[in-house]
């Protein structure tokens, strides 16, 4: 990395395998390679987008970084410390530096707690409020930060619309003043006219607090809009990482090309050529050999089925994992 600033988060060779048990003795008969060797960095204040289709492992990656699921292999350096080894009190301390926003604004708020209870929970857990009044004041401040009213505090999640609930979720994440927020599909469950509100809010908060985001989404247009850099995932691996501008203007991996060309553009006069992909995403239990993408790749050659292409970084920190495109970078 040419970046002189040390990265805030540095993921190397991250793997998460799920055991599939079978038989009477429930022995491990197979493994799902949900995340299969993922590496990337996030600089302070930066947004890294992670895109890919369902089952590509992008959400698993986000949760593994948060230690919500235990990674099978690899290291996750956050502020210079390996997160994968933290236990007990140290792990709890990590929760103040790193937070997560979820996709489903209906499932991510406890239906039995008031908004005050939801947002204030982190303050209680980490002892960040001096007394009840201080807690209330902090919750009010957080509510105002995300564009809600102080009197919303006593209400319950079901009384809010999807967009408002997502704001509550954002306020909850902000309560501990984290440096990195994992945003797991934060707008994809929202109505179209509400998405822009939440995207703008996330951008404003980033500017105000110097937050770094790992922005996970399947919607490429949203990711392009909000991210500085974007990583594209396919079947548990990162196939390409570049700056948002570079990736969209000059996609190198054939999967990225296909993905980009499949995004419908809200402009009937924009006529484009589409790279049609045959078939569905293969089963992650038995992913294809070599390059995972070779079964659907329009330009695959014999070598692709045998050899796993490395993620090689070229000019402009544009990294791609494709045998055929390695020369071009």
């Amino acid at each position: 990395m040419l970046d002189p600033v040390p990265p805030l988060l540095s993921v190397r060779g991250l793997k998460k395998h799920y055991a599939i048990r079978g038989g009477i003795l429930s022995r491990v008969v197979d493994k799902v390679h949900a995340v299969d060797g993922v590496s990337f960095d996030i600089a302070p204040g930066e947004t890294l987008g992670l895109v890919g289709e369902s089952g590509c492992g992008k959400s698993t990656t986000g949760r593994a970084i948060m230690r919500l699921i235990e990674p099978t292999e690899g290291t996750i350096q956050f502020e210079g410390r390996d997160v994968t080894r933290l236990q007990g009190e140290e792990l709890r301390a990590l929760r103040r530096r790193m937070q997560i926003i979820f996709q489903d604004p209906f499932a991510s708020l406890n239906p039995r707690h008031s908004v005050r209870g939801i947002i204030g929970e982190a303050l209680v857990i980490h002892g960040l409020a001096k007394n009840r009044r201080d807690l209330t004041e902090q919750v009010v401040r957080l509510l105002e930060l995300v564009g809600l009213r102080p009197d919303h505090m006593t209400r319950f999640a079901h009384e809010f619309s999807g967009g408002q609930r997502q704001r509550i979720g954002i306020a909850r994440a902000l309560a501990v003043q984290p440096r990195l927020i994992v945003c797991d599909e934060p707008v994809s469950a929202l109505d179209v006219s509400i998405q822009a509100q939440v995207i703008n809010l996330l951008e404003d908060l980033q500017e105000q607090f110097g937050l770094a985001y790992l922005f996970i989404a399947h919607d490429l247009s949203v990711v392009e809009h909000i991210s500085n850099r974007v990583g594209v995932m396919y079947l548990g691996r990162v196939v390409e990482i570049a700056t948002a501008r570079d990736l969209y203007a000059n996609p190198l991996h054939p999967y990225t090309e296909a993905l980009l060309s499949a995004v419908p553009i809200p402009d009937p006069t924009a006529k484009r050529s589409r790279v049609a992909l045959k078939g569905d995403v293969p089963n992650p239990i038995n992913p294809p050999s070599g390059c995972h993408f070779h079964t659907r790749c329009p330009i695959a050659v014999a070598r692709c089925a045998i050899e796993v292409p490395a993620l090689i970084t070229g000019a402009n920190s544009h990294a791609v994992a494709c045998h055929l495109r390695h020369e071009t970078i």
Partner: protein, 318 residues
């Protein structure tokens, strides 16, 4: 899975629209207030609740108003039908049935509620541990639950009663000893469905995003269970618990009817029914009143359970 929850998934499925919009109309409503609002719509449940409350009231204050002793033997008024002096009639010893019904109601309801508590508490403990623990402990506890479910209950009941009846009666006195024994037996053989229910709730709730969010905030495992998982699992447990009261009342009646419960000088509804069975021809009222009381109580409780099921429906709040 990521990427498969689209913007308008529930878009305009009429029921969803109505359900969501409807709630917005009642601003500051806590989940409890919301539940009460929905419970009130269940007319049978509300009527049942009133009947049950009336019965509890009668049982509670009855002895202070109807001061006839339960064991006053009056051979001149054997098996007399309902009259002004004996509104529910008398039994074969001329004892006042109303007084005995009131007294018996106390025991029957107390047995029902206590046995339910035993079943629910044991069920929650086993189910919660099973639902939050690792694979091994979970498998062990569920194996134990299945084993209890497959025990032949009636012979076991008889055996336990036979073995411990005298010991407990000696230690705690006849009435208290029997009460504890019967409650423990009924509750101890009814916790398994609750445990399974709680475990299933835990397994699904612990995957919910709000539980994940609490973990991400650094909540301890105890906090997760007590603040986030258990409160959201309670709805179905309360419903099951309600029905459990009814089941326990029936179970106590059955035991008494078999002559295995309380002795004749401690009237419970089931016991009165047992004594009445030989005189059905000559004194039908003797069996009618305890039978009706059991029937009415159990029916009311079941209707209340139905109402609670609607009121605490997790679909609306979860």
């Amino acid at each position: 899975m990521a990427g498969s929850t689209p913007a308008s998934r529930s878009a305009e499925m009429p029921a969803a629209v109505i359900a969501e919009r409807a709630l917005v109309r009642h601003p500051p409503a806590s989940p409890l207030g919301e539940a009460w609002r929905r419970f009130r719509k269940h007319r049978l449940a509300v009527v049942s609740l009133m009947i049950l409350l009336a019965m509890v009231l009668v049982i509670a204050v009855g002895p202070f108003v109807w001061r006839v002793p339960i064991d006053e033997i009056d051979f001149s008024a054997q098996l007399s039908p309902p009259s002004f002096t004996h509104p529910f009639g008398t039994d074969d010893l001329g004892q006042d049935l109303l007084a005995r019904m009131i007294y018996g109601g106390r025991i029957s309801l107390a047995v029902g509620i206590a046995a339910m508590m035993v079943a629910v508490i044991m069920g929650i403990l086993v189910g919660a541990v099973s639902g939050i623990a690792g694979r091994r402990l979970d498998a062990g506890l569920m194996w134990m639950t299945d084993m209890f479910l497959s025990l032949p209950q009636l012979p076991l009941l008889l055996l336990v009663l036979y073995l411990f009846r005298n010991a407990l009666a000696k230690a705690l006195g006849l009435e208290a000893g029997l009460f504890v024994l019967i409650v423990l037996i009924i509750g101890g053989l009814r916790w398994m469905p609750v445990a399974r229910l709680v475990r299933a709730q835990f397994l699904s709730l612990r995957e919910k995003e709000f539980v994940e969010a609490a973990r991400a905030l650094g909540a301890s495992r105890i906090r997760l269970v007590v603040r986030h998982i258990l409160p959201n699992a309670m709805g179905p447990v309360i419903v099951a618990g309600t029905v459990e009261v009814a089941t326990a009342i029936i179970a106590e009646s059955t035991l008494s009817f078999l002559g295995l419960g309380f002795p004749p000088d401690i009237p419970t509804w089931g016991r009165i029914l047992f004594s009445a069975k030989d005189q059905l021809d000559s004194a039908p009222h003797w069996a009618l009143f305890p039978g009706a009381a059991i029937f009415l109580t159990v029916l009311s409780i079941n209707f209340i359970g139905d109402g609670l099921r609607d009121a605490l429906d997790a679909r609306r709040v979860g």
